[in-house]
Amino acid sequence: MTAVTARPTASRRRFTGAGKPWVPYLFVAPFVLLFLVFLVSPIIVAVWNSLFSQQSSGLGFGGTTTAFVGLDNFARALSDQDFLVSFGRVALYGLVQVPVMMFIAATLALLFDSALVRGRRFFQFAAFLPYAVPGVIAALLWGFLYQPSVSPLIQALSSIGVDANLLAPGTVLWSIANVSIWSYTGINMIIMFAALQAIPREIYEAARIDGASDLRIAVGIKLPMIAPAVLLTTLSSIIGTLQLFNEPQVLKNVTANISSDYTPNMAIYAASTLGKDPNLASAMAVILGVATLIVSVVVLRLNNRTTKRASDGL
């Protein structure tokens, strides 16, 4: 992380503000202030609120009082079967959705990087177009394509004798995954493609002279060289999976098979709005935040180790 300091050669030429030491602080003040108010304090508020509870006094007369309850909200959240199941659900979802999306994105990026594709710009445009459709709109759109009454897909399937129900309890999770794959394959492809284009072409020439095939070069040279880009797009996809909200929340409107606490983020939203229990919601948000942090750190560790091994191997 600290690798992003300025180039050492430049530092001797940079100033502390031409004799006015407060100038740089003035420049960074707006960001720091906003950062403290809208990023640091929500976290503090969440942790603080998670330790309290609203309790109605007496027989329900005279409103509510706030009482310190310690880790009670955490205990309630962690003993909530549905909340725990929602974590398992997004884990299962991520185990399938992320590899599938990465496989499609990497394959497309490798094809676009090869000389095998005519009309590359058109194909790239097509793959990228869904990313320009806001996630919520994409979910609305697919929502229509999943409903038997309007969907041409289901009509087509039933005409060849397949009775598909894309919103059934067992399949709806994968229908949500499909929306994410459709939306985000393009951007991941572009990131990997950018990494591929940055590799010096001479490396392949040498391999070709040695008689390596295009496929061999793609799998044996290109993929390992963009391993950091692949692993880190994977990391952000995993984090995205844990945060899953928009797609299931929107698809909930067209099926009863998505509960209001289908994913951890939906559970937080439901506790906050339907359950009217912001304290429990705060505890859940803290739990989700910590879980996200742990997953990020684990994946980053894994990534560092892999990158090191890759560079040792070279």
């Binding site: 609120n49 963009i226 952000s236």
Partner: protein, 322 residues
């Protein structure tokens, strides 16, 4: 979620970037000589391979394009035809009627939502880009106490997904009395660490310190140097920041859903999903949701796809180069 996904990627890839300050790659790499593959593999084999590969690409391409195509076709149908005619076949052309219905339903609330989305996105992204530019410029040009800490904070906070703090942010906004206001949506969006990082990288590579020295000798103040020179030199990078911030605000859903209960303040995302929910009881809303989705996608798709050069260079500059 999209912009979160992106920012995390660029952030965490940084350590692998050999030289973060380097200028972004030229937008169009020089075309490789066509003979490169054909020379080795023999002309005929390669041409067959090319045809097969290009044909095979039609399958994923159909997957990516067909839903959008359906949206276009469905937008031209009446409510009855939407449910009774085949999905990809045009029926009676009702697009104009649908647009009129969209514009007049509930006193034209749709355009109110569109206006709100534009406000949140345009004003929000302009302010965000300015805050990011100030910070990135200062980090690149000045040496001051706490600078390294600030860089560490910027990088670290990119790992915090916006949605995880949405509920706490909502609680905070209620305490500040900012729920159900424009500011309640605008202000939290201004914290954009990825944008700060991009501005920092661009300032490092595009603002020569000699020029700043020269301007100082001419007696220009620090802020004037930034506003008159720095902003202009960083403009490519700032357009990238602007675009990502714009997209982030345009797509934003969870926070507005929590913070806004007043219909008049809602952005398109919240409004349209509300219609989708209500269409269970009000069948006519289904067509309006379809047409409304199409209308909301068109401007953002045009802006985003026509400015590809900028955000692609942003991704490269962000250190995503393997």
């Amino acid at each position: 979620m999209a912009s979160d996904t992106l920012s995390v990627t660029a952030a965490t890839t940084m350590p692998d970037a050999p030289e973060p300050g380097a200028a972004p790659r030229a937008p169009k790499p020089p075309k490789r000589p066509r003979g490169a593959t054909t020379f080795v593999n023999g002309d005929r084999v390669s041409r067959v391979g090319m045809v097969i590969t290009t044909a095979a690409l039609l399958i994923p391409t159909a997957y990516f394009l067909v839903p959008v195509l359906w949206l276009v076709v469905a937008s031209t149908k009446s409510t009855g035809d939407l449910f009774s005619t085949p999905g990809f076949a045009f029926a009676d052309f009702h697009l104009w009627d649908n647009l009129v219905a969209l514009s007049t339903y509930d006193d034209g609330i749709y355009w109110r939502w569109a206006f709100n989305s534009v406000i949140y996105s345009v004003i929000g992204s302009a302010l965000t880009a300015f805050v990011c530019a100030l910070t990135g410029y200062a980090l690149a040009v000045y040496r001051f106490r706490g600078r390294n800490v600030l860089i560490g904070i910027v990088l670290g906070s990119m790992l915090i997904p916006g949605t995880v703090i949405a509920q706490p942010t909502y609680v905070l906004l209620v305490n500040l009395g900012l729920n159900n206001t424009y500011w309640g949506i605008l202000l939290p969006a201004l914290v954009f660490p990825f944008g700060v990082l991009l501005s920092f990288i661009y300032a490092q590579s595009s603002v020569p310190i000699e020029l700043i020295e020269a301007a100082r000798l001419d007696g220009a103040g620090e802020f004037r140097i930034f506003a008159g020179m720095g902003l202009r030199l960083m403009s490519t990078g700032l357009v990238t920041v602007l675009l990502f911030a714009f997209l982030g605000s345009w797509n934003s859903y969870l926070l507005p859903l929590l913070v806004l209960t007043d219909q008049e303040l809602m952005p398109l995302t919240v409004g349209l999903t509300g219609w989708s929910q209500a269409s269970i009881t009000i069948p006519g809303l289904q067509v309006l949701t379809v047409v409304g989705s199409l209308v909301s996608v068109i401007p953002i798709a045009i802006v985003f796809l026509s400015l590809q050069r900028y955000w692609k260079s942003g991704l490269t500059a962000g250190g995503v180069r393997g």
